[in-house]
């Protein structure tokens, strides 16, 4: 298993702190962060230095939209100090660190939340400083001596050399020193026993690698315990006067259920048992845990909304919420086309859009109504851009590393639909919506339609066994979701035809993608978002757009995400040579909103624009398109029967497999490899392809209408 290097680059967060700093207690620096503001403060305790404050990544963005959220890294990991002395890691030190964070933030009282050790520390603070605690939310709390520990830890001695390193024998100092990563991988696979937890385990291992075996041994095994008897443990719990919420997964491999039950009983708290959950439900079941924390906080510090509104069912207007993926502007254009057709069929339908830049630019230009909560969405395009290298986007990994953003954005969606009754939700590759609805099917409260133009994660050849395993695991989870909860997707629409589906399998022992997709999807055909017949008179169109008859117009466009900057520059570099080969050449470069067009050199016949409205009209009028391997633009060129060059992004499985398969079916476009396509090669290809007659298979023009009809049936 190949995981991250020791100091991995942190993935994009859904939200960054508004304030951060260090506090110093007895020479030990503790790093804290503060997010948001609101009627109450959450202090999210860290846990043992086996982890960092990032363990709350699925909670912070959600809670911070309502409350102030304080986090800190535990001494021994993250950006906090690693004192070399076991006494510096006593439980009371962490309790006091938490209290000091509260104090330095000027927060008198807070909802104290903690996981495992952190849950115990939250209870200890509430017990000894009741004035600081508005409530305690303890997930899988560790309270020493309160009950017998989990049997897992009793199997082997920690300090003695062992003649085995199987199973829990890995919880041993000598093994830690030999293979700390191996220990972390074992330990967290035990704490995340739920199937399909690969990303959560990787996260935990990465955070664990932020410390070292010696520090962890000091903190977890050698530090003084806060007390030495069950009586003392009970007394601490009994002194907790504030409301207490205890959460415990019944597959927890670290803290026994009896301990959670005892905490709840002794504090008069509420125990929520999560069946089928392990030790880290805040990571693996974030929607459920976030809801519990929100409800708990709401009961402690009512948000005080003095006015609410409910509308009798039969008085409600008919409303749809369109959730449009921002990765690639193509979704926006086709979704607008579907929405337009849908309004034809259901004239009283009001459509709101939950979307973000750059999709919102298209929606606003089309006069569509963008829901104001869209402003709360965490930026997906920025993340994708940050994951890309030179014409290279490992989109499967980039998507996995977007898990925090996807969850944060699902919670925004969840807030919207909790407040506003919609009849219909349409998600166009709205992965967060589809995934978390299947994980939390009780949250479905409207008719739901799923749209996509590809099915199946596919491994890139150089990803090796690990990537083959991961893509198959994600595919398997999706297949299981849909088999178990067929009621979640009321309709699934594949934007295309059965022949467009790749012939591959979902993975070992999994079905063929095409068979499964034909069984589970409807096929409205491709949705172009325009009618090519409108451009049959190309001369007129060219005149309208300002292209002269004698010019050979080459449109260069690489989508809205900014990943294509390197390709753009390469093509611009090819311009002088291409211009020599094709003297009538006029090259129009569409840089997209994230690339500055002023950065390109000045050449006669070369022009650059940040944004071109109705780009498809220009593509319909051109003599050659030069594009990335994205589906939408390539299919627009195909529908308009224009010759084009396309460059699939390296490591982008969708562009390399799914799109390419589809374009080959249409006999459309000429694929060039970014690795080998020098400016000279590109110039030569431009000269060969520009203005060429093509024999593409025709693209249907009624896809949007057919998709809308299939949706309207559900209303």
């Amino acid at each position: 298993m190949e995981l991250v290097s020791d100091v991995a680059r942190e993935q994009t967060r859904a939200r960054y702190p508004d304030d951060e700093g260090y506090l110093d207690r007895d020479g030990v620096k503790v790093f804290w962060e503060s997010y948001g503001e609101g009627p109450a403060t959450f202090l999210l305790f860290p846990t043992s230095p086996i982890s960092q404050s990032r363990l709350w990544k699925a909670q912070i963005p959600y809670l911070a939209r309502r409350y102030r959220v304080l986090t800190f890294d535990p001494r021994g990991n993250g950006r906090s100090d690693r004192p070399p002395d076991a006494t510096a890691y006593g439980s009371w030190e962490y309790v006091e660190d938490g209290r000091a964070v509260l104090e330095s933030a000027g927060a008198d009282r807070a909802i104290l939340a903690g996981l495992c050790d952190g849950g115990g520390w939250a209870l200890m603070l509430a017990s000894t400083h009741p004035e600081t605690a508005l409530g305690v939310a303890a997930i899988a709390p560790y309270v020493p001596y309160l009950t017998p520990g989990h049997p897992n830890y009793a199997q082997y001695p920690f300090e003695d050399p062992l003649d085995t390193d199987q199973g829990w024998a890995k919880y041993n100092l000598h093994y830690w020193r030999r293979d700390f990563r191996g220990f972390l991988e074992f330990f967290f696979s035990q704490q995340l026993p739920e199937p399909h937890s690969t990303k959560h385990i990787e996260d935990c291992v990465e955070w664990g690698l932020g410390t070292d075996p010696e520090t962890l041994a000091l903190a977890d095994e050698e530090a003084p315990l806060p007390w030495r008897s069950a009586d003392e443990a009970q007394a601490v719990c009994e002194r907790v006067a504030c409301p207490v919420l205890v959460v415990h997964g019944d597959l927890d491999g670290c803290q026994p259920r009896e301990r959670a039950e005892a905490v709840a009983a002794l504090t008069g708290g509420t125990l929520v048992r999560l069946e089928g959950a392990g030790h880290l439900p805040q990571a693996r079941h974030p929607v459920k845990v976030n809801g519990l924390l929100r409800d708990f906080a709401e009961s402690l510090a009512p948000s005080g909304a003095a006015q609410q509104r409910w509308t009798r069912a039969t008085k409600r207007r008919r409303r749809a919420l369109f959730i449009c993926s921002p990765i690639g502007l193509g979704h926006a254009q086709r979704d607008v086309a579907v929405a337009r057709e849908l309004r034809q069929l259901v004239p009283d339908l009001e459509i709101d859009w939950l979307a973000q830049h750059p999709v919102t630019a298209v929606l606003e230009a089309e006069g569509e109504r963008v829901h104001p909560m869209s402003a709360e969405l965490a930026n997906e395009s920025g993340h994708i851009e940050s994951e890309s290298a030179e014409h290279d986007l490992h989109c499967f990994q980039a998507w996995r590393r977007m898990d925090e953003i996807l969850l944060a954005n699902f919670m925004v969606f969840h807030d919207v639909v909790r407040e506003e009754p919609y009849d219909l939700w349409i998600g166009d590759e709205a992965w967060e919506l589809d995934y978390y609805l299947h994980e939390n099917p009780e949250e479905k409260r409207a008719t739901y339609v799923w749209l996509t133009d590809f099915v199946g994660w596919l491994p890139m050849p150089d990803g090796g066994e690990r990537e083959e395993f991961l893509t198959a695991d994600y595919n398997a989870e999706m297949i299981e979701h849909i088999a178990r909860f067929p009621r979640v997707r009321d309709r699934a629409l594949y934007v295309g035809n059965p022949d467009d589906v790749v012939p591959d399998s979902f993975g070992p022992d999994l079905p063929l993608i095409r068979d499964w997709t034909e069984e589970h999807f409807d096929f409205p055909g491709y949705v172009t978002g325009f009618d090519p017949a409108a451009f049959a008179d190309r001369e007129k169109l060219r005149a309208e757009l300002g292209y002269r008859p004698e010019e050979l117009v080459c449109i260069v466009t690489v989508g809205g995400s900014g990943v294509g900057g390197h390709l753009l520059r390469r093509i611009v570099d090819a311009f002088p040579e291409a211009k020599e080969l094709v003297p009538e050449l006029r090259m129009v470069v569409v840089a997209g909103p994230r690339i500055d067009p002023a950065a390109f050199p000045d050449h006669d016949g070369l022009e650059a624009h940040a944004y071109v409205h109705n780009l498809y009209r220009h593509l319909a009028a051109c003599d050659l398109g030069v594009v990335q391997g994205g589906l939408t633009t390539a299919m627009e060129l195909t529908a308009n029967r224009r010759p084009f060059l396309y460059f699939p992004l390296r490591h982008h499985f969708e562009q390399n497999f799914h799109v390419r398969h589809r374009l080959e079916r249409y006999r459309a476009g000429r694929a060039l490899d970014f690795e080998t396509a020098t400016p000279a090669v590109i110039a030569q290809a431009i000269a060969e392809e520009i203005g060429r007659e093509v024999d593409y298979a025709p693209v249907e023009t009624d896809g949007a209408a057919r998709a809308a009809a299939r949706i309207a049936e559900l209303l």
């Binding site: 009961s299 009512p302 006015q307 609410q308 509104r309 409910w310 008085k315």
Partner: protein, 305 residues
């Protein structure tokens, strides 16, 4: 429909009381019922005597599974006495009856729920006995904190009128002559929502269990209330308050509910498309709103005091 003599056969209930009894004050008996034994006690107050405690029939079975429920027939209808004379029907008398029911049922503290006029005695009880009232819910409150609907101020109640069109039916002479027609008109204005036939029939049936003479006395009693001091009463309410008000309430305008929420520092939930008795017409939503409110009080109690 014939005017019943005595109570018509009551339809089968979803739940029957666990305890029932009478409380007598100054020779006037009121009849109470207790359901369930959860915590806290939810006290469903009487409203205007035109109907009796059965109007809570959509709330009692649900709340009784979660809380202890207390309800009583207010003086003037149901199994309560029908004293004559307006002074027997002031808001202070209703509040005193409610207080007596709390004592008789050994209820230390309760969450009050009142509809329409029930808000008058509910606020009085909450203001005067803060130790006994944990919270209060008012549905379509009939409170003079904002002007009434203009069409309800056109006709005199006491004078002989030359018309019986619309709200001219709200007239003592019309009541004495055409009581059932009045009930049908009045409950038609209560239930402005389409498809409310059963709710109207229920209410007309309960209205027929009292008589026009008694209702005239209640009208005299309520018009004698010291409403000018009502704002002061509201300002003395310390407990959390939830107001539910339909924006199509044809009896009492939404502005009155909004004003009561503001005067008591409470939360207003506007029910779009609802009339005066959403607890009967949209019982699921109202039940859930009240349950959430009651549960939020439970969670708040231990540490807010």
């Amino acid at each position: 429909m014939t005017i019943a003599v005595g109570a018509p056969a009551e339809q089968t209930r979803a739940r029957y009381p666990d305890e029932e009894g009478y409380v007598e004050r100054d020779g006037v008996r009121v009849f109470y019922e207790v359901y369930g034994q959860g915590e806290p006690t939810v006290f469903l107050l009487p409203t205007w005597s035109i109907i009796h405690s059965r109007h809570w029939k959509m709330q009692i079975p649900y709340f009784a599974r979660h809380f202890r429920v207390l309800t009583f027939d207010g003086r003037g209808n149901g199994k309560a006495g029908r004293p004559m004379g307006g002074t027997a029907y002031t808001e202070a008398e209703f509040a005193a009856d409610a207080f007596a029911v709390l004592d008789a049922t050994r209820t230390e503290r309760a969450v009050l729920v009142g509809v329409s006029c029930g808000a008058l005695w509910g606020t009085l009880l909450a203001a005067d006995h803060p130790d006994r009232v944990a919270g209060a819910v008012f549905i379509g409150p009939a409170v003079a904190l904002a002007p009434p609907h203009p069409e309800r101020s056109v006709y005199s109640f006491d004078d002989q009128l030359g018309t019986d069109a619309g709200w001219a039916k709200y007239n003592r002479h019309y009541w004495l002559e055409h009581y059932e027609e009045f009930l049908e008109y009045f409950f038609g204005r209560i239930f402005t929502e389409p498809h409310s036939t059963k709710q109207m029939e229920d209410c007309v049936g309960w209205g027929l269990e009292t008589d026009p003479e008694t209702l005239i006395a209640t009208e005299e009693g309520l018009s004698a209330c010291g409403l000018e001091s009502f704002a002061d009463v509201c300002s003395r309410v310390r407990c959390p308050v939830l107001v539910l008000h339909g924006d199509e309430d044809a009896i009492r305008p939404l502005a009155q509910g909004a004003a009561l929420a503001e005067a008591t520092g409470g939360t207003l939930v506007t029910l779009e498309g609802s009339g005066h008795c959403p607890h009967a017409r949209d019982p699921v939503k109202v039940n859930l709103l009240i349950r959430d409110f009651v549960e939020s009080l439970e969670r708040r109690t231990p540490w807010s005091s």
